[in-house]
Subunit: 376 residues, 2 copies
């Protein structure tokens, strides 16, 4: 089925004219000699590319194929169909022209150099499926060198959709961000971005797990980018084993891998546990098992269970807002506002409906509006 779907049209996107060149007059306007007038103007003021070219509406979806979906480091070719799918979503939901840039290199400095050099035609850069810690370095350097917004979707898109889900879930169990204890299972790009955004939102008790246990100052095996997290994770964490981590936790956020969370972990949690088990395609704990173990609200990344937290809910509207304002600075405040806007689309959340569907036509305008309003 999926093979036929992809083979039939040989790819999911095409590059189409918006202008008609059926006669000589139009051809002379769109191409030589007419276009030379536009080129001359752009030679004096490159910024007018926003006025006369696709720059203002175009996004590069940049990947090095090092962390494609949940499939790991499988390179640029397997990334192509994923990025094409993303391009389809960009256009369909937010009318953004997004082109896949699937790179044959995984060297962060080379990636930075390439993106800098291909950037003139783009109004924004969506980094995608680049593994940690390279993704942090690439993002940081590009934010510094380019004057267009840089958004690593696996980090920030995921963090925003998680926060949106959590805003509505906490309403349902009548708890507040300031008081909850959160366990994040997974300390890759997504986990770290979630940690930072929840901290910015006021959560103070966050325990983070990686494949070797609780992240704390006691660990001697941690890379630099994980050590930097000490200042915002729960100080008490250093005394925790994995078992204590779950003890009286209000929220579990899973961005690690299928099956790593067990029923007894859920049973150890506080009253009305919220379980966001987002590993794809197999969640950290299957909804049926989590429910039986006492979870009150369960969300996954899957479309065949209730409460799908998919970052496709976020990136189209978020980039729409960025492109509309030509804003390059993406702040935590902007992300929090976007999360509230997304949560707000679901006026009366219920246990099986904490988040709007990706097909809800109010989602993209709400997020875009929140981003635009966040720009002073």
């Amino acid at each position: 089925m999926v093979f036929k779907f992809h083979e039939e049209k040989k790819g999911k996107i095409e590059i189409k004219p918006k202008v008609n060149i059926c006669n000589n007059k139009n051809l002379c306007l769109a191409y030589t000699p007419g276009v030379a007038e536009i080129s001359k103007v752009l030679a004096k003021n490159p910024n007018l590319a926003y006025k006369y070219t696709i720059k203002g509406n175009s996004v590069a979806i940049v990947t090095d194929g090092s962390a494609v979906l949940g499939l790991g480091n499988i390179g640029p070719y397997p990334a192509i169909p994923v990025m094409e799918g993303k391009s389809v979503i960009f256009k369909n939901y937010a009318n953004i022209d997004a082109f896949p840039v699937c790179l044959n290199t995984q060297d962060p400095d080379e990636i930075v150099k390439i993106v800098e050099n291909i950037s003139p035609i783009f109004g924004g850069i969506n980094l995608e499926d680049i593994s940690a810690p390279n993704c942090f370095e690439v993002e940081r350097k590009l934010k510094k060198s380019l004057d267009i917004p840089i958004f690593h979707d696996d980090q920030h898109g995921t963090a925003i959709v998680v926060l949106a889900g959590l805003i509505n879930a906490l309403k349902l169990v009548d708890k507040k961000f300031e008081n909850i204890k959160v366990v994040i299972s997974g300390s890759g790009a997504a986990g770290i971005a979630i940690l930072k955004l929840l901290h910015a939102k006021g959560v103070r008790k966050i325990v983070m797990l990686d494949s070797r246990g609780v992240i704390s100052e006691k660990r001697k095996d941690l890379p630099k980018h994980k050590k930097e997290l000490f200042k915002i994770i729960d100080k008490d964490s250093s005394d925790f084993g994995v078992k204590e981590a779950f003890n009286r936790a209000d929220v579990l956020i899973g961005v690690s891998k299928g099956g790593v969370v067990k029923a007894h972990d859920i049973k150890a949690m506080n009253q009305d546990p919220i379980v966001l088990a987002l590993a794809n395609p197999i969640p950290e704990i299957m909804p049926e098992i989590a429910k039986k173990a006492g979870a009150k609200i369960i969300a996954t990344g899957r479309s065949d269970y209730p409460n799908q937290l998919n970052n496709a809910l976020v990136f189209p509207g978020f980039f729409r807002g960025l492109l509309d304002t030509r804003e390059k600075n993406i702040t935590q405040k902007m992300k929090i506002n976007a999360a509230h806007a997304l949560a707000g689309v679901t006026i009366k959340p219920t246990i099986n409906n904490i988040i709007a569907s990706i097909f809800n036509k109010k989602v993209v305008p709400a997020i875009a509006q929140a981003v635009r309003k966040s720009v002073k």
Copy 2:
């Protein structure tokens, strides 16, 4: 007019879905989780990108903005509207998805590195408006390192359209390639490619001019890539001044700049002079002046005179043939065949109609077919 045309739609191309993702089933096929099946298959066999992604139909239009139209080295931003125009032509005439890659660097090694690294999604590379001699180095290195066709349009597209025009023009004056004397005014990328293709076609008396005079072994100021031409230009050239160059020449090909050829140059030519004055927007000699000086057949690059020799006649069909066959080796024989195919579209050439119009729907299929047939 041209400003309104470009401002109205903010660019001339868009990136559109070829698939419908209006429901969850299709979204799951086009994006996660379904697309993972395609990714897994591509991880094992990247070559299947031709089957399941846009690779087989996509071309990168790569420029460094160093020789944009006749405007010179004006950088990547002014190149954007030109490359968008080219993309429109690619799609409209040959149904090829071509994306502009307008680079912020003019270092040939960097250009090579970038193109190598962004190549996975492309089925072909159209180098464009890159100045000589960098364009030769970039082309040579990419041909070596990549397994997709590399075609520098300013060289080979121009050479093919010139040869096509000349095939029909020579018929009209009843002369043969083996016997004619040709003067090429201009020794940039286009001039050199024309020289080589005419030589491959059997022309033996070719004199080449640059801005300082006749190219010959006597010149001590020539860069390496021009010295390499000695072996195929007319040996007698070394005794020529510019004046002698035109003496009894049958054909003048101008790919230099406006106004450099004078009436007395045309008057010095052989019987029935053929003048292809292709500098844009001002030809080497205006058709009215050339005619008055005795030119029998006159062609320009302009759409407002008869006999427009525009490489837009060539690149759509040529790439169509390359993509259809997945051939990476572009040979002189292939180019000559393409030129004959283009010339052949005009069944009964006349003095004011040596070449088909770009709107003639037979042009692209004829050239594509010639390329396909050239591939063994």
